[in-house]
Amino acid sequence: MTRHPLAWCGWATAALATAFIERNPFLQVLLLLIVINVFIAFRRGHRVHNWKIGLALAVVPIIFSVALSRFGTHVLFTLPAIPIIGGAWTLDAAVFGASTGAALLLTVAIFAVVQTTVRSADLVAALPRPFYRAGTTVALALAFAPKTVASLQSIREARQLRGQRAGWRSAPQLLLPLLLTTLERALQYGESLDARGFGSRRRSRYRPLPWTIADLAVIGTAVMALAGIVLTPAQTYNPYLGLTPSAPTVNSLLAILLLATPAISASLSRMDHATHHA
């Protein structure tokens, strides 16, 4: 099984680059299936919390694009002259939105995989020594993000209790309390780091993670995939120019298939376990 955080970083870099560069719908679907497969192989009981956000990110561009864009030749229907949304609604615009939405959905899915597989503590420990302090700061900042969301919720609830509105317009009033709580927490963190001897001398590592063959395979294939995607010309797909996508090239197809290595290594190791048990 892949365990090394740097291997995951390599995989995520290649996958994200692909998601941003490739707009061919066939390749997008393929990549999405692969990412989902990798996620399922590594989720270790994690539930998917933000699938709704991902779905919204995928759907919203479609709505915006189809409602606001007046380009394209495949007209679905025509609305009377209402400001902004009036006019011809086209299939081309909807498909263009879907294409953008798919890229966003892919991004969310890739980050979901990283979130479940990489613990920021491991990532910090895996960084080369000179980056250690900077890395710890980043890890702390990451640990802060969910807490900031939690305090935002409690601030909103508090405003409700005090009979103040909790709509979008109150956002500026929420900002100051949020900043305050975050700063207070940061100070407490600093004190805790200090009291626990952080930075007093050269640190040692508890349970360093060794590189396994699976890790090397993942990072190796990720580098190959990245090279394949970047070096071969991107398969630009523009629905306004032609609704039917071209067939993907063998190069980009292979590059994307290489990104399935973590899932394959996971199932191989599971088969390995199974034979050992048998």
Partner: protein, 511 residues
């Protein structure tokens, strides 16, 4: 030779008008257990932070005198160097963790010391057993409850093999069961390892029998006394000590076991009418009284994701009545209050209030964000603002916890005739609790109906005139405190455990 000495320590925070500590001198001998008492805002946290150099290194300000901790002068040694000698546990369960999971957290301090891998592994296993958290080792910090977090924090502090443990009100943010678990860990370390411990703690009755010295802080001035002298003199003390002082028992018993011998001589308490007696017109959920009901709850039901939190609950609340709502964590207390306040919509049944209801959440801090107390009170009537005249210019989040609680209640519940308070005494010192009790009684006398979800048995016995016990989303006992709290193993006051019957508080016992 003392492990820690303070010599004439005075300290003033940057831009503060008054010093936080004034000429503090004291010493901690190896193996001693020191209890630090004092009202909120008296300088307890400041003093404890002096012991590992956080004051003045991380706070700045004006520092005089000298603190020697484990042979190191805190003026010349930074907290991160003292971290190897003094284990520090902070008040907030969530503010002290750096990493994401328990094992990494336990190793963090040792990694900072540069210990070898095998040694770290051995020590992690040892502290896990010592503190009894083996079941938590693979968990993420954010999945732990407050009590579990504090135990992990203690284990993490212990892993570096410190010479002394300093705990700053480790249980003040916890419910009683979690607090009990944490204190038990501390007691075990004291008993088994002879760990030198300095602890600030409001639950004096729990640890008084174990301490060697009591330090009492009053406006930055420290008194270092033997436990009996300190408790006899005043401040936060167990109810049995109050009773012992009235009855003239010597030596003063520090716990229930010592007190049993003396209690033999007390008169027999009157048998308290059981809740079912006709005199109370007892009917669960309907406490009859002369005053009109302002809130009626009928057949209320609420589920979170299908898990019932409140089920088929009926209840009426009356003017002038202070009701304590008690029960273990997760029994549905907070949900019930939120349903009555209208913050949650009942899934079945009704909660109807004839007057404006106000809900004050557990974390009163979350309510205060203005730049000054004056800004917080803007729009309130002069009567509401009157008690706060002295602090109008102050920054609300710099007030002591008790003051913040008072301000939060004023801001949220000023005009309300139905007050719903969630754990209002958590982290408050006895004096502030007394003031809060008086304030609520006064509001009730003015005709308000008050419901308090609380775990604090002694305070409830003093404040409430009706007690509801809740479990599994249902109310299973209802009646005056004398009957509900005396007839209980879990929710009994210390005096009622000692003498039984209907006496709950030390001043009710005739001596």
């Amino acid at each position: 030779m003392p492990l820690i000495t303070l010599e004439g320590v005075s300290y003033r925070y940057p831009e503060a008008e008054r010093p936080a500590l004034v000429e503090v001198s004291a010493a901690v001998e190896p193996g001693q257990v020191i209890l630090l008492r004092g009202a909120s805002g008296s300088g307890k946290s400041t003093l404890l932070r002096c012991l590992n150099g956080l004051v003045p290194h991380s706070t700045g300000g004006e520092f005089r005198g000298r603190v020697m901790a484990c042979g190191l002068d805190t003026r010349t040694h930074a907290p991160r160097e003292l971290g190897a000698h003094i284990g520090f546990v902070f008040q907030h369960p969530d503010a002290q963790f750096v990493l994401e999971d328990v094992e990494a957290e336990l190793a963090f301090g040792m990694e900072n010391l540069g210990l070898s891998g095998p040694l770290m592994r051995k020590r992690v296993e040892e502290v896990i057993d010592q503190v009894g958290i083996n079941h938590l080792r693979r968990r993420g910090i954010d999945t732990l409850s407050g009590g579990e977090r504090q135990r992990v924090a203690i284990a993490a502090a212990l892993a570096v093999h410190p010479q002394a443990l300093v705990l700053d009100e480790p249980t003040s943010q916890l419910d009683p069961q979690a607090a009990e678990d944490v204190l038990q860990v501390v007691m075990r370390l004291v008993a088994e390892l002879g760990m030198t411990t300095v602890i600030a703690e409001h639950r004096v009755e729990r640890i008084a029998p174990f301490v060697d010295r009591i330090w009492t802080l009053e406006a930055g001035v420290l008194k270092d006394q033997s436990p009996r002298t300190a408790l006899a003199e005043g401040g936060a003390r167990p109810p049995v000590v109050d009773l012992a002082l009235r009855a003239g028992w010597t030596p003063i018993p520090l716990g229930l076991r010592d007190a049993r011998v003396h209690a033999q001589g007390l008169p027999k308490p009157p048998p308290y009418p059981p809740p079912q007696a006709a005199e109370w017109n007892f009917h669960i959920g309907d406490f009859r009284g002369a005053t009109p009901a302002v809130c009626r709850v009928e057949n209320l039901e609420y589920r979170y994701n299908g898990v019932p939190a409140v089920r088929a609950l009926s209840l009426s609340l009356r003017r002038g009545q202070v009701t304590a709502l008690m029960g273990r964590n997760g029994s549905g207390k907070t949900t019930l209050l939120k349903l009555i306040a209208g913050l949650l919509t009942p899934q079945r049944g009704t909660a109807r209030a004839d007057v404006r209801a106000a809900y004050v959440p557990q974390d009163a801090d979350a309510l205060l964000f203005a730049a000054t107390v004056e800004d917080e009170l803007r729009g309130q009537t002069p009567e509401v603002a009157a008690p706060f005249r002295a602090w109008l210019r102050r920054y609300p989040r710099d007030l002591s916890s008790g003051e913040r609680q008072q301000l939060a209640i004023a801001v949220v519940a000023a005009e309300a005739q139905l007050l719903l308070l969630d754990e209002p005494t958590r982290g408050l010192d006895p004096l502030v609790k007394k003031a809060l009790s008086a304030f609520l009684r006064a509001r009730a006398a003015d005709g308000a109906a008050i419901v308090i979800a609380t775990h604090d048995v002694e305070w409830a016995a003093r404040t409430a005139d009706r007690v509801l016990l809740m479990a599994e989303g249902e109310i299973y006992a209802d009646g005056p405190p004398g009957s509900v709290l005396s007839d209980s193993l879990v929710f009994a006051t210390q005096i009622s455990k000692l003498v039984g019957g209907g006496w709950l508080l030390p001043d009710e016992v005739p001596v």
